[in-house]
């Protein structure tokens, strides 16, 4: 019997029972997919986490969980640790140990993190502007490619920060920010973030604001509830919730900026000597700040992931064996039900081997289709892993 005939007759038999065939393909594909996808996802995640960590040589932040600090600085996860003082950043920058970059990532716009930083961050991460330009003033932002795509945003549009709670008790109020540029995609958490000047996050935090300069007469006669403006009931002074060219000069900061908050500081030492100096500076356990090597923190995280992976693989393997046994049973039952058909083949003149080949071909087609489907799934998982990881962590 020719191989093409075997394949054709088997294909016809499978096509005649599409639901059963697809169910078998789906079941076997999932059985093959899950363990491999998990391995692929973990492996790729480890690569991505490590790459991002390696590109962040040192991290300074408040003492506490190094993993929390690392994830907040690298993946902009919600801030769990208390803030750092801006003066810590100034002091560190003045020591001239290397490239010093402040990070303030407390706030969000919806699910997207707002990252207050300096222009040096973009150089560190090799981020380039794809459309528009970099931010130029308070209230400006550049956003990641995926965020722009998902919300249909472009330069010239605005995006507003989210209040931290509905009652706005902490003085954090929504700031409408001007989008000046969209970053080129880079398959990192930066694709989903909103980048602003550090001072802009302080405006969101309520440490700085801009308000209308009014004469006494104007204060007394101010109207309330003007569109787009917030009125204070007691002073009748209009605070701006957006920075424009007209009101830029009216924004001012209160208090000593040395006390202003940061989430962390990235330090890229200029050489090994400066790196050693930096590490040595934070060794005292009494120091309220810590220095973290992100690559080391991520390694611990990766080890945890791998341990979890082993457990999951055992579970998937057991499930897989059960699923494959069920699939085999479905095949055997199916062939039992088709005994008459096989007898007809035999009577017409098909040998036992030919009949076995026909049955084997059906199983093979299902298996191959399932394998291909599983492989497609694994490939897609590999490709989507960085974005999926970002979403899971963020």
């Amino acid at each position: 019997m020719r191989i093409t005939a075997i394949a054709y007759l088997s294909w016809k038999a499978l096509r005649h029972r599409p639901f059963r065939s697809l169910l078998l393909i789906g079941t076997i594909a999932l059985t093959l997919y899950f363990p491999r996808a998990l391995q692929e996802f973990i492996s790729r995640s480890e690569e991505v986490l490590s790459a991002r960590a390696r590109s962040t040589p040192l991290l300074i932040g408040p003492r506490g969980s190094s993993i929390d600090l690392t994830l907040n600085a690298l993946y902009f996860t919600p801030q769990e640790l208390p803030p750092l003082d801006y003066s810590s950043y100034e002091t560190l920058a003045q020591r001239d140990l290397g490239n010093t970059i402040p990070i303030h990532s407390r706030f969000r716009s919806g699910n997207s993190p707002i990252v207050g930083t300096s222009l040096e961050y973009f150089k560190l991460r090799a981020l380039s502007i794809h459309t528009g330009r970099s931010m130029t003033r308070l209230g400006d932002c550049v956003i990641g490619a995926r965020l722009a795509e998902s919300k249909g945003l472009k330069p010239g549009d605005t995006i507003t920060s989210s209040p931290e709670n509905i009652f706005d008790l902490a003085g954090v109020y929504p700031l409408r920010m001007r989008i000046t540029g969209i970053l080129a995609p880079n398959r990192t958490p930066d694709d989903h973030a909103i980048f602003v000047d550090l001072k802009t996050t302080w405006i969101i935090e309520g440490l700085a604001h801009g308000h209308q300069k009014l004469s006494q007469a104007e204060i007394m006669g101010s109207s309330r509830n003007s569109a787009g403006r917030i009125l204070r009931a007691n002073a009748s002074v209009v605070e701006f919730n957006e920075v424009t060219e007209t009101n830029l000069g009216d924004f001012h900061f209160h208090g000593d900026d040395g006390n202003y908050p940061l989430s962390s500081v990235i330090l890229a030492p200029s050489d090994k000597k400066h790196r050693a100096l930096a590490l040595a500076s934070y060794q005292d356990p009494a120091n309220p700040q810590q220095i973290v090597i992100p690559a080391t923190a991520v390694e611990h995280l990766a080890n945890t992931l791998f341990a979890t992976q082993r457990l999951a693989l055992v579970a998937f393997s057991l499930l897989g064996i059960a699923a494959l046994a069920l699939a085999l049973m479905v095949f055997l039952l199916s062939f039992r039900l088709r005994e008459r058909e096989m007898r007809t083949y035999g009577k017409i003149g098909a040998t036992r081997l030919a009949i076995l080949c026909l049955q084997g071909a059906e199983v093979t087609i299902i298996a191959v289709a399932a394998t291909i489907l599983a492989q497609i799934g694994v490939t897609l998982t590999r490709v989507a892993a960085p974005d999926l990881l970002t979403r899971l962590i963020s």
């Binding site: 490239n99 222009l119 040096e120 130029t136 003033r137 308070l138 060219e245 000069g249």
Partner: protein
Amino acid sequence: MKSTSSPALLILVTVTLVSSCHNSNKKENLSLSERPKPIIATVNYPLAYFAKRLSGEFADILFETPPNVDPAYWSPTDDQVGAIQAADLILLNGANYAKWTSSRTIPYEATVVTSSSFGDTLIELEEGTSHTHKSGSTSHTHEGFASTTWLDLELACKQASSTADALCEQFPEHVESISGKLKILLEEMRDLDRKMKSVTAPLRGTTLVVSHPVYQYWTRAYGLSAHALHWEPMQKLGTLEMGELAAIQGEKSPVKYFIWEGPPTEENINKIKMAGFINIVVNPCGARPAKGDFLSIMQENIASLSEAITQGTSSNTGTP
């Protein structure tokens, strides 16, 4: 029974893979002479002058404030900020000069504060005085620190040295040239400093009136004492202003000299003269001068002072 094959799909995939190879040669490999000139951005004219003197032809200087605008209060456009962001080096004056730097985004690593070596000697302003320059326009406040540091020529030398240090760090291949040029520049500035000390010696112990509070470092450096008003050279001086001046005269005497930051109107000259003052123009030179350069402007200041003092010595009143 029909069999199909899809060689076309295979070819398409292959072509796609091949054509998606990155263009690795997008970055141009230019020789040193072909690379664009580095850019040095500054926030005021004196720093632009120092940078130009020290860099010579190997760099371009970016100082975009129009000549008729005070750089301290200039507000750049987005394009101008973008150009400054792209500069290889950004020289700041320090002492809260250039208010726009606190509300605009500029790269930290490329920025040098040229007054950081004498930060502990900055003059703190006693109180913020909010005022307007033209009636009805937006007011500003002089608060924080006095910022016209370069009027103290010794401090200007330090700022020039700081500029040279920044240039040497950024462009190490030009260290020798920069050092040589710095030496020459410092010699010229120290010479001016000596002349300024000499010409202002007769003013010590007298009270000067200055049209605007921008001479703090100059008066401190040269042992002078000045009362600052908030007048513009082109401003119409009315009863209120003249009354303010008279009060000063009554308060401290002998008062002989009125220092303008720019050439006043003829009317103002006469009014000041009638009030018993000798008019002198001492140009702070924060903005780019219409003609001349920083040193020639300082030279002109010295000449104006010398002439006025000569006039004042011979007579209590005179014309500038």
